[in-house]
């Protein structure tokens, strides 16, 4: 593997990061840095040639991931990460294109693109980072906010059913579908390696803490409390139909590899 030789600082992952931008802008207790950490470790495990890997991200807190990873990266317009990534893949078929973006970007504004990329089985790896809320714009409720959860725009409790992202992707024809929370770091890392080495559309939903908006309004004031909740309430059921993996407010979270 061709390891980048620039910036030699303290952390072993620093050659893969734009280390001059560290410490990053994400809040204390946010799980996005953890996802980038697991992605880089999974990428190293997969032994892909790094000059053939491109990271595409949309808008939102998670969209900043492309700016921190020291690979060819692309920060696109809101919701359009998957169309840009599909274009990259079609024009340069030898590239490995990874989309790292949030739930609001991928399932709300770019929801149609997600469905159709899965339908066409575009050869992309999508990391959908789900924090249940629009974090960057002030904590508004989104399509993944669980029923009865409080947000800035639903102070009396959300009245809509959330999306079940693995079910949506599997029903649209994705080749690899998994869901993990940030509390299962080792499994998440292995799953990212598997998805990177898989041909076809791979989607991993990663449930992360957002202490600043979601946690603060739902009696989990710190990222650590949310991490403990994910650790204690995750049930690993690999191979089940993702239809039965819905997310309920303060209920158990079913994680695992659903489609492979």
């Amino acid at each position: 593997m061709n390891k980048p030789t620039t910036n030699r600082a303290g952390h072993p992952l620093d050659p893969y990061l734009r280390a001059e931008r560290m410490p990053h802008i994400w809040c204390s207790g946010c799980g996005l840095g953890l996802v980038v950490n697991c992605f880089l470790r999974g990428l190293i495990q997969s032994r892909l040639a790094l000059d053939k890997v491109v990271v595409v991200s949309g808008i939102g807190c998670a969209g900043r991931a492309a700016g921190y990873i020291n690979l060819d990266s692309f920060h696109t317009t809101h919701g359009r990460a998957i169309p840009f990534a599909t274009g990259l893949k079609l024009a340069n078929p030898e590239l490995k294109v990874v989309v790292i973006s949030g739930d609001g970007d991928l399932t709300a504004i770019g929801g149609n693109h997600l469905i159709h990329a899965a339908r066409r089985n575009a050869d992309l790896t999508v990391l959908c980072i789900n924090n249940f809320i629009y974090g960057m714009t002030g904590g508004q409720g989104g399509p993944t906010t669980p029923l009865t959860a409080r947000t800035t725009t639903s102070v009396g409790g959300n009245i809509d059913q959330p999306f079940n992202i693995p079910y949506l992707a599997a029903a649209s024809g994705a080749a690899y579908v998994a869901r993990w929370t940030t509390a299962q770091v080792v499994r998440l890392q292995k799953s990212i390696t598997e998805a990177l080495l898989k041909n076809g559309f791979g989607l991993i939903e990663i449930i992360t803490p957002c202490p600043t908006y979601y946690g603060r309004m739902n009696k989990q004031r710190t990222g650590l409390e949310q991490m403990k909740y994910y650790r204690d309430n995750s049930i690993i059921k690999s191979g089940i139909d993702p239809k039965h993996a819905g997310i309920e407010f303060n209920g158990p979270i079913i994680v695992g590899r659903f489609v492979d």
Binding site: G10, L17, H24, L34, C38
Partner: protein, 87 residues
């Protein structure tokens, strides 16, 4: 063979204090519970973590995987001699 002799001594936990944001993930998820908050303050105003009892550390690298801020990790000192000064 004594217990001490099988411990891999070339691997060591390195903490980059300037990056730590005091989220507490490593403190909670360390299997041996040997990471604690220190009393010093970094330039962003957080109390970075420190190792309480290094002899108990098994170098499992859970702290390195769970850290969202790339502030703590297990490194092989034999390979990366230059980072010792920053720990």
């Amino acid at each position: 063979m004594k217990k001490d002799e099988v411990r891999p001594d070339s691997r060591q936990v390195v903490i980059i204090a300037e990056r730590c944001k005091e989220c507490g993930f490593c403190i909670e998820f360390c299997p041996k519970h040997i990471i604690v908050k220190s009393t010093e303050i970094n330039s962003k105003g957080y109390h970075p973590v420190r190792l309480n009892d290094e002899a108990q550390c098994t170098r499992c690298d859970i702290c390195g995987m769970i850290c969202p801020d790339f502030a703590i990790c297990v490194v092989d000192i034999g390979e990366q001699q230059e980072i010792r000064g920053q720990s």
